[in-house]
């Protein structure tokens, strides 16, 4: 995906490499940790879950990170929570980037042409979307949807976060559209959709990749916030946000219940942000 020079620049960036390492670790954790622990994340272990004081049991050979307040394996829930978070974050980002890119391309290409009306309508809609506080909008829609599933959450997140992307891609499209090779393509009679797909899209891919990597981090936070406020996925689905919410009541006797999911959110957000920054620097030709 990256040309060799950009890849070289990315490799030289220590922060980006650390970020990539964190992201890979996270993905591996989500994929393999459940198999390693062999514990059902939704099943309470009433036989071994309590310590002598009646508190959720700590680290043991059976539960490597102890159990949560319902005596379920904490490590297993963290791993399944990673799956949920990453799944939602990746798909919501895909949806957001897809819609944002499409709107941005169409709007940018239509600007100052006969299709100016399309550009105006789309950009005013984007203005309206940007004027809403993002998380408030997500929470309101989440609450209105009522019955929440992974699909509804990622749809809500994806369909409410593309406005900024559309704005950036529109600007980039206006820039690229006026270049000679686009004028030549038009003169050769290529269709608008073909020009957009074959010539403009590849030229705006760099910013899209950067936006996407930063957006994954944003989606992880948004999903965690929804779950923390109990308008996310219904119980018992493990989610870092809901684990943090439930764990905070046990901060004084079992801090790991809140610290562990909080740390996972922190690591994943910092990982994706570092990768995003690394990509931005790597794809910037001025870096050479």
């Amino acid at each position: 995906m990256l040309d060799p020079r950009a890849a070289r620049r990315f490799k030289k960036n220590r922060g980006a490499v650390v970020g990539l390492f964190l992201v890979i670790l996270l993905v591996l954790f989500a994929l393999f940790a459940p198999a390693l622990t062999g514990q059902d994340p939704n099943l309470s272990d009433f036989a071994h879950g309590q310590n002598a004081l009646g508190q959720p049991a700590g680290v043991s050979s059976l539960h490597w990170m102890g159990v949560d307040q319902l005596y379920r394996d904490l490590l297993s829930r963290l791993a399944y929570g990673a799956r949920v978070s990453l799944l939602i974050a990746f798909f919501a980002t895909g949806l957001s980037i897809g819609v944002g890119a499409l709107v941005g391309l169409v709007s940018g290409y239509a600007e100052s042409t006969r299709g100016q009306g399309v550009d105006t309508a789309l950009m005013r809609f984007v203005d309206v979307g940007l004027s809403f506080p993002y998380l408030l909008l997500v929470m309101a829609i989440g609450a209105a949807v009522g019955r929440t599933t992974i699909v509804t959450i990622l749809m809500v997140l994806g369909l409410t976060s593309w406005f900024g992307t559309a704005r950036i891609i529109r600007s980039k499209t206006i820039q690229v559209r006026s270049l000679d090779f686009i004028v030549a393509s038009r003169a050769l009679g290529q269709s608008t959709w073909r020009i957009l797909a074959r010539h403009i899209l590849p030229n705006v891919a760099g910013p899209l990749i950067v936006i996407a990597s930063a957006s994954v981090a944003q989606m992880i936070i948004a999903e965690s916030v929804l779950s923390y406020l109990q308008v996310g996925l219904p119980p018992p689905t493990p989610s870092w946000g809901s684990m943090l919410q439930e764990g905070q009541h046990y901060l004084t006797i079992a801090p790991r219940l809140a610290v562990a999911p909080g740390f996972m959110i922190f690591l994943s957000v910092i990982g994706f942000n570092l990768v995003g920054e690394g990509l931005r620097d790597a794809l910037d030709p001025h870096e050479d």
Binding site: N42, G54, Q230, H249, T252
Partner: protein
């Protein structure tokens, strides 16, 4: 170079100072020790009680306020004709005596003389009648007028056809007789509710939203800011000479439990009830707090309602399968101490459980057998069979409701019933659970309005409690035998016979399974050693009317507490270089 070193030393010093300050008050128990000691001294006047609620208080007008939060404050502002003593027995309060006719239909209340209301007027029998009429007037949004529907003339008055409530007669300045159309074994308990308390003449004859709470209670309302604070001051003209003891009471509202806990540790809250699970465990296991605090008796029954008008719970065997599949001890184990298994509808604080008493028990094999009888056999070895559809389960947005739902979900999966939990806010829960043909099952709970078994059957399990909307009977359970039994039990004046009837009612509920009872919840209450005169009342929640402070001990202990961090610092200061660094840091500005 020198300046850099000095800066580093200062930074280290500040860090050490912060650590010293942060750790100075901690103990090995994980909680700070009590503030001061309990001295054996006679009751004293003075002091300001600071305490808090997690919830807000909606209203303090006794005619309309009926939520848990307002009840404790109402006890302070309004005295009732009758109340409960520390053992939970009924006692006259504003009434000097109460005579009940042998047929249980006429109650004569003789009032104490010289009781001055908070507006300066003397309490008279006409105030009792006026206050009752104000509550039961059709224009008053009283949440429970039906509690008093057996008073003679209630219907005509409540419907606006009569000007006065005929069943309440003023027979002298200090005597009021209440006539019932039919006997009601729970009438005295209902007269102990703040809703019937005499209110000042400033309240008028009709309900008015602008009424400033005013009664014959021990404390006067000074300030009420929704979501913030309620402040009360001592009623100087209180009829019980020498009481109350405290000068003021400051009751914070909408305060998170962990905020309450840290304020309690600092002495900014003197008495606390709403510990979260972790903090409650810490205090109960802390050596320095050993023997202090007390459990408040639980008057709540929680469970799972099963909608008898909706599939699959229109099938009796499916309902029974659920009641047998729920392991109540497992639910209770999640919050040891606070949550206890509950096997019957009426809490043990009202009718104690005894061997052989009807109730619902965990029996896995019976649950599987009931699934077979219901037509949905389930094989636990292969996991095949069971009810083929996912059932919606309504839970409320509070921590334990959601937690118990998740345990029930695991337990029902073991008999082939799969539920999907939907967590909603309380208003949504009430709307959905109370609407006909809407929710198949969900969490349910009932807290006693007054300590009688009837309050646990009539409002929630009788046919009369079924409504198309806002039905209190969320199970939409209708059983003629139970209905007849409840009416008979309410009419009866024979307590032993009534107990027998409620035992029978429990049997019907256990057999017909409209509810699967799961647990009861009780609070752990704690107060600083300088707080005296308080023990949880078995009936009245947070009755702090007799509380008093050892103000001298409080002052001394709090001063000591403030000096703690400084002493910790001075100890560190005496340790050579670290000391000079800290001294440097502290002296740097």
């Amino acid at each position: 170079m020198r300046s850099i070193r000095t800066r580093t030393e200062r930074a280290l010093g500040v860090l050490a100072a912060v650590v010293a300050l942060a750790t100075s008050g901690c103990s090995k128990d994980g909680v700070r020790p009590p503030i001061g000691h309990a001295r054996d001294i006679p009751p004293q006047h003075g002091g300001v009680l600071h305490t808090a609620f997690f919830v807000d208080v909606r209203s303090l007008d006794s005619a309309t306020a009926f939520d848990t939060g307002s009840a404790a404050i109402e006890l302070l502002i309004y005295d009732t004709l009758v109340s409960y003593d520390q053992k939970g027995h009924m006692k006259p309060l504003l009434a000097e005596s109460v005579d009940v006719s042998p047929d249980g239909r006429h109650y004569t209340f003789t009032l104490r003389r010289g009781v001055v209301m908070q507006d300066g007027n003397e309490l008279q029998a006409s105030d009792v009648k006026r206050s009752l009429e104000r509550v039961l007037d059709s224009g008053t949004p009283c949440p429970v007028p039906s509690f008093y529907d057996r008073i003679a003339g209630y219907k005509a008055f409540h419907n606006g056809k009569a000007k006065h409530l005929a069943g309440v007669r003023v027979t002298g300045d200090y005597t009021v007789v209440i006539d019932l159309a039919e006997p009601d074994a729970t009438f005295m308990q209902k007269m102990a509710l703040p809703i019937t308390a005499p209110v000042c003449r400033t309240a008028g004859r009709k309900y008015n939203r602008e009424f400033s709470p005013c009664g014959a209670g021990a404390y006067k309302l000074v300030r009420f800011e929704h979501g913030q604070v309620i402040e009360l001051e001592r009623n100087q003209g209180y009829w019980q000479k020498g009481k109350p003891y405290l000068d003021r009471i400051v009751w914070y509202l909408s305060m998170q439990s962990y905020t309450q806990r840290f304020k309690f540790e600092d002495g900014q809250i003197d008495y606390m009830r709403e510990f979260n699970e972790a903090d409650s465990m810490l205090y109960r296991s802390a050596k320095s707090w050993r023997g202090m605090g007390a459990w408040e008796p639980s008057m709540l029954t929680a469970g799972v309602f099963l909608n008898c008008q909706m599939a699959p719970f229109d099938n009796l065997h499916m309902r029974r399968a659920v009641t047998f599949a729920i392991n109540r001890k497992q639910i209770a184990s999640v919050r040891p101490g606070h949550v206890r298994p509950q096997y019957k509808v009426v809490p043990n604080a009202i009718i104690p459980e005894s061997p052989g008493y009807p109730g619902q028990r965990y029996d896995y094999q019976r649950a599987l057998e009931e699934m077979r009888l219901a037509g949905y056999p389930y094989d636990p070895k292969t996991g095949k069979g069971g009810y083929p559809h996912t059932i919606g389960y309504l839970a409320v947005l509070d921590a334990f409701s959601s937690q118990s739902a998740q345990i029930v979900q695991q337990q029902l999966a073991r008999i082939g019933i799969h539920i999907e939990i939907q967590v909603v806010g309380y208003p949504t829960y009430l709307a959905k659970a109370g609407r006909k043909h809407t929710v198949q099952m969900g969490v349910v709970g009932w807290n006693a309005d007054y300590p009688d078994a009837s309050d646990f059957f009539e409002p929630i399990l009788s046919t009369s409690a079924i409504q198309p909307e806002n039905s209190q009977n969320a199970a939409f359970f209708s059983n003629k035998e139970l209905d007849a039994l409840l009416v008979k039990a309410r009419d009866s004046q024979d307590q032993a016979a009534r107990l027998g009837m409620y035992r029978h009612a429990e049997q019907i509920v256990a057999d017909q399974a409209p509810w699967a009872t799961t647990h009861s919840y009780r609070y752990f209450e704690l107060w600083q050693p300088y707080v005296h005169g308080y023990r949880p009342n078995p009936i009245l929640q947070q009755d702090v009317r007799n509380m008093w402070f050892d103000t001298a001990e409080r002052k001394r202990a709090l001063a000591d507490n403030c000096l703690g961090p400084i002493r910790a610092l001075s100890r560190l200061c005496r340790r050579g270089r670290a000391g000079s660094t800290i001294a440097l840091a502290l002296g740097s500005r």
